[in-house]
Symmetry: C2
Subunit: 241 residues, 2 copies
């Protein structure tokens, strides 16, 4: 049974301002929820129509009907469970190894996929410009498939962050050096630009190392890569050696 106040609270968490106010977020589906629980995210409530979660304080589990779940879910086709978690505090940025920095990634699906990629490639630091989508947006949480628990995300003034770093800074541009022929270091900041506009002019000014992913298709026509697939290729290149 889910109360009216709970419905109101959970649906409000689809909006960033209420997530910020309550310092809460929610995740859906057994797989993602279990990953978050195992990663010591602090569980507030778990609403479930059927799923069994061993090892969880039974007082936190509320059985609900499918109709009720539909009311609180952000999905068109809800799963069988939804859990509300506390937003953990971000740890401060560890300025070593490879760091991915996002310059205004707006699409929650792209952000979620990039977090999952960071996790796959063992990159634990993700730095986001303040205009980047919120990692606790339900669509981001869903797209990370739980890897949100293993990547430390900080929102910063990106220009200032880059100006102050000691690490080499990399970005991809149309006129950069062929990434397949570049010697890539084990430490550095990799900047990924906005879906529509790429890296912004202010950030471009402070990027010293210009790379490019060569294209093999019809040069006149093939237009661009999606930012998440471009991130996949770039991280693969940095890590493959």
């Amino acid at each position: 049974m889910v109360s009216k106040n709970q419905i109101k609270l959970i649906t409000s968490l689809q909006q960033k301002k209420f997530r910020k106010e309550h310092k809460l977020f929610f995740a859906e589906g057994k797989k993602v929820i279990q990953e978050l629980i195992h990663s010591n995210f602090s569980l507030e409530y778990l609403f479930s129509t059927a799923a069994v979660f061993p090892g969880i304080d039974p007082k936190k589990i509320l059985t609900i009907s499918e109709t009720e779940l539909k009311k609180i879910s952000a999905l068109t086709t809800p799963n069988d469970c939804l859990a509300v978690f506390k937003q953990p505090e971000s740890k401060s940025i560890n300025p070593s190894g490879l760091i991915v920095a996002l310059d205004d990634i707006r699409d929650p699906g792209n952000l979620g996929t990039i977090i999952r990629l960071c996790d796959w490639f063992g990159i634990t630091e993700l730095v986001c410009s303040e205009e980047t989508a919120d990692i606790y947006n339900p669509k981001v949480v869903q797209a990370t498939m739980g890897s949100i628990a293993r990547v430390n995300v900080n929102y910063v003034n990106l220009e200032k962050f880059i100006n102050e770093t000691q690490l080499p800074v990399f970005g991809t541009f149309m006129d950069g050096e062929n990434i397949y022929k570049s010697t890539l270091p084990k430490e550095g900041i990799i900047i990924m630009g906005n879906e529509a506009n790429g890296i912004s002019p202010e950030i471009e000014k402070v990027v010293k190392n210009r790379l490019t992913i060569p294209r093999f298709g019809d040069l006149q026509q093939t237009e661009s890569l999606n930012v998440a697939t471009a991130t996949a290729i770039i991280l693969s290149e940095f890590k493959r050696n």
Copy 2:
């Protein structure tokens, strides 16, 4: 002005059976529509609230209101135009070079992104199992960003297709050879498996070359890559040399 019959026809095209029956599909947004027109897709109608399209038979352009566009659009936030095209006949498969083969990719966004990747990497042949999403699904068309015009897609019995090919066949599995250390040929079939289940057992039996994308994150936990990002990494490896 859009007639009731046109609204009925266009909304019916969100469903595969009606797309098949009418041999039509639709695309939204100036960029995608222009790409399709320039690639000689046969335009039936273009509904536009504002956008100007030079070089198009004016009889095919119908000015409509935003309210009308909302009725026919598949997008939550419609663009300013929507165009209906004839489905072209697929050309038969050219069995040379690199071919991407999809084993039951169900998500339209993933399929669209993979088509865009094929285009980027100059791969013009995409072969899909019959259970793979339909390329004329509006969400696929949107995710391809127009590159659907440059990739030849065929739906086939995948097991039969692989059994009959002379090309080497590659797939990624947990226990495959490290793709970063493999010598990859310029010709071959690269199989990408279903989002949830990977490559199916029937197809796995006929894959001779087993590859793996090594993971660098916490081996116990990081679970998998999204199929579109995995495709990006694999195509990049095949093409980089």
